[in-house]
Symmetry: C2
Subunit: 484 residues, 2 copies
C-alpha cells in the first residue's frame, strides 16, 4: 500500500463540491500514468479516508467511480486492485505543433495558406482605412434591441420546433420584398436561402458547384481574397481574369470556366461598374457554355449617384445567376446573416448544403432581422448612412485630389464603402507603404488583391469606419510623410 | 413614336414613392423583352409625360436611369433611342426544376440524397417521441433574456472590431472551465473552436480530414444519419462498423480507416457505453494506424447513474481525438452553438475552415452563452433537467416493461434523452410501425440509423420533449393498437 503515500494528492478542503471529482481525477491520472501500477492492490477505502483526511463515503464514491470507469476492480474478499490492462498512453505532445500541418489533413487544407491570425502592428496606427467595414457606432442599436427583446419573448413562448434549412419564412419574405424593391431582383421567398453572412453563401455555392480538381472557376483579378480561399478549399481550378474600366473582360474568360464570380455593381476592389455590354456578353457566355455566375452584391446599398443599377440576376432569364447579398455592411458584421437567391434547379442542393453545414442560422437573429426590415428600419438606416458615407467619400476624394495627387490617382466609383487609388507611374508603392506605416497610417495595398502576374500598385481606402476628421488627418499625415 | 402607346404602362398614382422605380422597370422590361425595339426612337420626355400623366421631371429621371444602365442613348439634337445592342434574353424558365439535379452540380452533391424537406404526416400525431430534442419549455428564458440584454448593451457600446474565427475568448474560457469540470477534458481556451452547433463541427472536421474519394472513414452502425451526410458530401469512403454491448467493435475497424467517428459516452442510437477495454483498444488502434477519432459527446450532460464517465479525449495523450460538444441539448437547438476541442496539430486548420465557412458565430449569441455558463446557469439548468428527464425515462422504461414487453425489449442505458427498444423476435417491426401510425403515435424506426446490411428492428424513443403524461398515454395507445 505504500506507493499511495507517495502520491501527492492535492485534497480540496472538506465540503468542497469538487472534492470527489478531484480525488477521482488524481487517482485516475496516477493509474493512467503508471504511478499506480497495473494489478497493484489499493488501500481500503477506510485506509484511504484516514490517510488523506477524507470521509469514508468520499473514498467509497471515488473507488466506485474508478471501478465504473474500468480503472479499478474489486475482488471479493480480497480488496480493490488496479486493473490488469490500463490505458498506458504516452504523454500529451507539447503544443509546439501550433499552426503546422500534418499528413492527416486533406491536402487542400494542408496547402491552403492560412489567413494570418492577427497581423497586429507593433504600434496601433493613428489612422486606418479598414476596407469593407461599416460604421457600427451609428447603428440604431436601441431599435435593434427592442426588436430583439420582442423576438426573444415570442421565441421563448413558442420555440421553433422544426427548423427550415432555407431560413425563417418571415425573414425570407422580408428579404424578397426588400430585394425586389431596392435591387429589382426577380425573387420570391422560395428562391432564397438564408446564410451565415456572404461568406457562408460562397462556401455553400463552392461546395455544390465545384468538383474538386476539375471545375474551372473564373474570378476577377484583382478580386476578393476570402472568396478565392473558399474556392481553393473546395478544390477549384481558379483562373484569374482581368478587369478593365467596363468590369470583367468577358473575352478573356477561359473556355472551360464553369463558374464565374463577379462583382458587377461595384467591382471589388477597383470600384468600377460592369457595363451593360459586358453584362449582356457575360450572360450570353454563361448560356453558351453552360456556366453559372456568382454575383456578389456586397455593398450595393451605398450608391451616391442617381443611377439605379440593376443586378445581373434581374437580367438573367435562364437561371444562370446565383445572387449573394449580405447584411454585414448595411447593418453590422457581427449579425452574421446574408442570403443567396438561387436558380430553381440548384435550390434543393443549396438548402441541403446549408443543412449539412450547420442546420440553420440562429432563430433569434433571423426573427429580429425580419422585423427590422419589415418595419422599415433597414431602409431608414441605409438612407442615413448613405449621407454619412457620401460625406466621408467626398472628404477622401477631395483630400486625395488636393494633398496626394502627386502620388495617387483615384479610380472613379459611385458606390460602396471604399475608394481605390492607383499609384502614379512616378511613385513607388512600396516606399509609400513603408512611409505610411512609419507615420502611423495603416493602408491596404492593392497588390494583395491580385492573383495573376499583372498587378497594379495602389491602395484600397475604406471610409466606412473612418470618420471625416480622421480621413482629413490621415491624408495630411501621408502628405507630410510622402513629400520628404 | 406610336409603339409606346401600345405599352400598357401601369402608372402608380402621382406622388407615389415607387413611381419612378415603376416607370423605369416597365420601360426596361419592354426594352429587354423587345417590345421596344433596338434602335427605336423614344418619345421626348415632354411627350412621355403628357401621354402618361407624369411630371416632366419624372420622365427625365426615368430616361436618365435607363441611359445610365445602358438601355437608352441620347443622340445630341436628335432625341433618345433604344440602344442598338440590348440584352435579348429568353424568358425565365418555369420553376418545374425544383429539387431536381443538374449536371452543373458537383457529383458529390448531385448524388447526395437530400433529406426529405418536411415529411409531415397527413394527420398530426397525438403523441410523438422526437429524438434528440430537449424540452425548451423548461428553459429559463427570463435569465437568458436578461443576459442577452446585457450582452447586447455591451456590444452596442463596443462592437467587436476584429472577429476571431476560434470564437469569443470569453466563451472559450467558459467552455474550457465547464468541460474540464464536467467531462474532465484536458483543454484550455486555445484548444477550442466555437462552431454553429455540433453539425458545423462535423462539417469542418470532415473538410479538413477527408480527401475526397480517398479517405476511409469508419462510422458506428447504427449511427447518426446527419453525420454520415456530412461525411459523404466531403467525399468520404464510409465503412460502417458494428456496435455491440461494449460499443464500437474495434477489431472490425478496416485497416485503412483514417477517421473513426464514435459516440463512446452514449452510443447513438443504441445508448450503450463504450467499455474501458474498447476505449483503450481504440486509442491504441488510432496510434498504430495514424488515424484520428471524432468523439461526438452529444448528450453527455444527462446521466442518471452515479458513475462519472470520462471522455475519450481525457484519455488521449497522443492527440488523436477531436472532441465535439453541443449546447443544442443542454440549452435549446435554436442557439446554434457547439464546439470542437482539437489537437494542437489540427487547430489552425479547423480555425481556417471555420473562417472560410462563415467567419464566426454571431457575437451576441456567443457572449450571452459565455455569461450563462460563467454565472452557473448552465450547471443549474442541467441539474434541473436531469431530474425531469430521469422521471420521464423511468416512466418510459416502466411503460415499456408493463405494457409493451410482448413486443419490445429496451436496451439498458444510463444517459441521454432517448431509449432504444429492439423488437422481440416474434414481433414484426413494420406491422408495429404501421399500427402505431394508425393509432396516432409517431415512432422513429431504428432501421433508418443503419448503413450496413445487418439491421436490427426496433424504435428510438426520445423523451426529451415528451412529457411524462404523454409518454404514459402514448404507450397505452401502442398497447391497444398492437395487441389486436
Amino acid at each position: 500500500m505504500e506507493p499511495l503515500f507517495e502520491l501527492a494528492l492535492r485534497i480540496p478542503p472538506r465540503g468542497s463540491r469538487n472534492l470527489l471529482r478531484s480525488l477521482y481525477a488524481q487517482l485516475r491520472d496516477a493509474i493512467v500514468d503508471g504511478r499506480l501500477r497495473a494489478g497493484q492492490r489499493m488501500p481500503s477505502t477506510r485506509a484511504l479516508a484516514s490517510l488523506y483526511g477524507l470521509s469514508r463515503n468520499t473514498a467509497i464514491a471515488a473507488y466506485d467511480s474508478l471501478s465504473g470507469e474500468g480503472y479499478l476492480e474489486t475482488r471479493h474478499g480480497s480488496g480493490t486492485y488496479v486493473v490488469a490492462r490500463v490505458p498506458r498512453l504516452a504523454q500529451r505532445k507539447p503544443n509546439s505543433a501550433h499552426g503546422t500541418f500534418d499528413a492527416r489533413l486533406n491536402p487542400l487544407w494542408r496547402d491552403l495558406q492560412l489567413p494570418s491570425q492577427e497581423r497586429r502592428a507593433a504600434v496601433a496606427p493613428a489612422v486606418s482605412f479598414p476596407v469593407g467595414v461599416p460604421d457600427t457606432r451609428l447603428f440604431p442599436f436601441e431599435v435593434w434591441h427592442r426588436l430583439l427583446t420582442r423576438a426573444q419573448r415570442l421565441l421563448s413562448r413558442s420555440p421553433v420546433e422544426s427548423r427550415d434549412s432555407h431560413g425563417s419564412l418571415a425573414l425570407r419574405e422580408a428579404i424578397a420584398r426588400h430585394a425586389s424593391l431596392t435591387r429589382a431582383l426577380a425573387c420570391r421567398p422560395d428562391d432564397i436561402i438564408v446564410t451565415a453572412g456572404a461568406q457562408q453563401a460562397f462556401d455553400l455555392l463552392a461546395r455544390i458547384l465545384i468538383t474538386p480538381h476539375r471545375t474551372v472557376v473564373a474570378t476577377e483579378d484583382p478580386g476578393y481574397g476570402r472568396l478565392r480561399g473558399v474556392l481553393r478549399a473546395a478544390g477549384a481550378r481558379i483562373v484569374p481574369v482581368p478587369v478593365d474600366s467596363e468590369g470583367l473582360v468577358v473575352d478573356r474568360l477561359p473556355r472551360q470556366a464553369r463558374v464565374i464570380c463577379v462583382t458587377p455593381s461595384h467591382q471589388f476592389p477597383l470600384g468600377t461598374v460592369m457595363s451593360m455590354n459586358r453584362r449582356t456578353a457575360l450572360l450570353e457566355r454563361a448560356r453558351a457554355h453552360g456556366a453559372v455566375i456568382i454575383e456578389d452584391d456586397y455593398d450595393c446599398e451605398f450608391r451616391f449617384g442617381a443611377t439605379p443599377l440593376d443586378a445581373l440576376q434581374t437580367l438573367d432569364r435562364l437561371e444562370h445567376v446565383f445572387y449573394v447579398g449580405t447584411f454585414s455592411k448595411s447593418l453590422f458584421p457581427g449579425i452574421r446573416l446574408g442570403f443567396v437567391v438561387a436558380p430553381a434547379w440548384a435550390r434543393a442542393a443549396v438548402a441541403a448544403a446549408k443543412r449539412y453545414a450547420d442546420g440553420s442560422c440562429p432563430d433569434l437573429m433571423q426573427e429580429t432581422l425580419a422585423s427590422f426590415i419589415t418595419e422599415g428600419h433597414l431602409a431608414r438606416h441605409v438612407r442615413k448612412m448613405r449621407q454619412v458615407y457620401a460625406e466621408r467619400r467626398s472628404a477622401l476624394l477631395e483630400g486625395l485630389h488636393t494633398q496626394l495627387s502627386r502620388w495617387l490617382e483615384p479610380i472613379p466609383a459611385a458606390a460602396g464603402l471604399h475608394v481605390t487609388a492607383l499609384c502614379k507611374p512616378s511613385a513607388d508603392g512600396r516606399t509609400l507603404l513603408q512611409r505610411a506605416q512609419g507615420c502611423g497610417v495603416e493602408l491596404s495595398p492593392l497588390e494583395c488583391c491580385y492573383l495573376g502576374e499583372s498587378r497594379k500598385a495602389g491602395f484600397v481606402l475604406g471610409y466606412g469606419a473612418t470618420e471625416t476628421s480622421a480621413i482629413i488627418t490621415g491624408l495630411s499625415m501621408l502628405h507630410r510623410a510622402w513629400k520628404r
